[in-house]
Assembly symmetry: C2
Homo-oligomer: 351 residues x 2
Amino acid sequence: MSSPQPRATVTMSDVAKAAQVSLGTVSNVLNHPERVRSEVRERVLATITRLGYVRNSAARTLAAGGSNTVGYVMVDIANSLYTDVARGAEDVTSSSGMYLVAANAGVRGGTPRQAAYIDHFIEDQLQGILLAVFDNDVSGAERIRRAGGRVVLLDVATDVDVDACTVRIDYELSGYLAAEHLLRQGRRRLAFVGGLREIHAVARRLAGAERAVAEHGGASIEFLPSGDLQAEDGRAIAHRIASRSRAEAPDGIVAAADLVATGLMQALLPEGFRFPQDIALIACDDNQSGRDNAVPLSTIDLPGYAVGQAGMNLLLDEIRNPEHVHRRVVLAPGLSARESSVGRERVGRER
Amino acid sequence: MSSPQPRATVTMSDVAKAAQVSLGTVSNVLNHPERVRSEVRERVLATITRLGYVRNSAARTLAAGGSNTVGYVMVDIANSLYTDVARGAEDVTSSSGMYLVAANAGVRGGTPRQAAYIDHFIEDQLQGILLAVFDNDVSGAERIRRAGGRVVLLDVATDVDVDACTVRIDYELSGYLAAEHLLRQGRRRLAFVGGLREIHAVARRLAGAERAVAEHGGASIEFLPSGDLQAEDGRAIAHRIASRSRAEAPDGIVAAADLVATGLMQALLPEGFRFPQDIALIACDDNQSGRDNAVPLSTIDLPGYAVGQAGMNLLLDEIRNPEHVHRRVVLAPGLSARESSVGRERVGRER
């Protein structure tokens, strides 16, 4: 396996920084100059000339002689979101005559291990990299762009200012759909359980749930946070809920993650709480464990497979299409109503 | 990425075939000649000379100039056994300064897709490959050996005659431990539910369960097969069980897989069956969904993480140790007793 030195290239980000404008402004100068004030336009064009920025071409040159292989760096192979992404990406590559190799940074490995795999994939001259982000951290993408590689960022929680295609799941809509589903079941004392506002994906879900409640007269929502998103976090919060009077306990719960919901059920069932009669429960991400539960769990479905497909299609377009323009893809989640929120009778799927 | 032609080498398998003996006999001729009858020994040695077999050296030469990367070809990234293996393997490689890249053949891709990834990894001159087998099919390993590559076979269901290290989970013991656990709870009318005898891993589990029952006077076990191992297969068999009189229904069930067990629970709970009062239930492979169930499921734990660790350690030994000898590693499963078989009181872990 050969190991050429990655070539440092000037990226759109470098131009944006040097010209003290946003990436979007640089992109507009290149694609829609009429949208940019002439004074800013001239500053950006002067910076482009000064730094020697050549749009995408350096990256193309480096990768053009390369392999028929693309890479995917996962955040956590133990989380089915990332393996769903792998399946979607793999189905696109295999029908395109390409190969997909995957690497797992891991929750413990974190961004240092992610960076090590990025460097490794770049040295191997892979055609491009699908990069799943750790909590909106785009440093890995910048690393790839600096080395002249192609990257599509997956699972950003908000729109990020980066010189690459991105695929985002609309987590705000996840929270909105979950809370609105409970409100439609007549629930009025809602709780959002689990996670911290500091985690982008949790903050977005909570914001969506709060928006649904705000649109609905006479309902309330409280936030019961937890440090992690495991079943034990759900059980700990369940004990707090069980210690209240029934009139003060929530009658509808949006769990930040399905493991939190499972923990809530495990600890509240023995306390005599019935689902959904006493508490209608829905979780914000559909993992296998929710579908296979003995009391099937209502969930917001994360479109992991579609994220993988969309991400790989964007990457292949960047590889093959000389007119490629970076895009921001936002995928909507779905709602699967199951027994934990609607009882046995009315189980079904809404979109 | 360079693409040299894989070099065809003579393997131990070729010698065994040409001399019409087993691989074990060839190995004995090389390692323990005193164990082999002189007539056979001479035939094998003559074949080795005729074919030009050079023990392991061709493979070493090919790989020696290669990368610091090893590969892992999964059967199905949606099955947590294979992602547990990935985590175990990754922890060994990352602490050894190596990189692990993974590829997913997939259940639909099957052995053709597996072969495509094998060829791709060989062209990339990876140092070696961890190969998870499809139902005891060792053709992939032979493909790698023919090309002069190193391979460790993971999750063979029985000892196989192949010129490579193997890591096997003792599935017979899985079935034995599961049935013996139910017998110890006083259950006497057992059923083994799900799968087909044609699947090696299912046949081994069933054989183990039957052995436990045979050792135990006054107990019986019936086999209720299903074409697949999904929750819907469990639900279909549950309807057959519910249509019997209670005296003829099993009082203990070993489910071939955890999804089958979940399907059984989903369909039998509404029919008034209680777990474990009416039926003590245990599943033969521990996936995440079993642990997170609202009625936690007793399981036999598959040591996927340990399989990955052991496999990678064997592969690194083959890469680094000139005295490497192929080994057969057999890992024992564990038993996690949870509510579905022992009720709320006596939940714990046995080994």
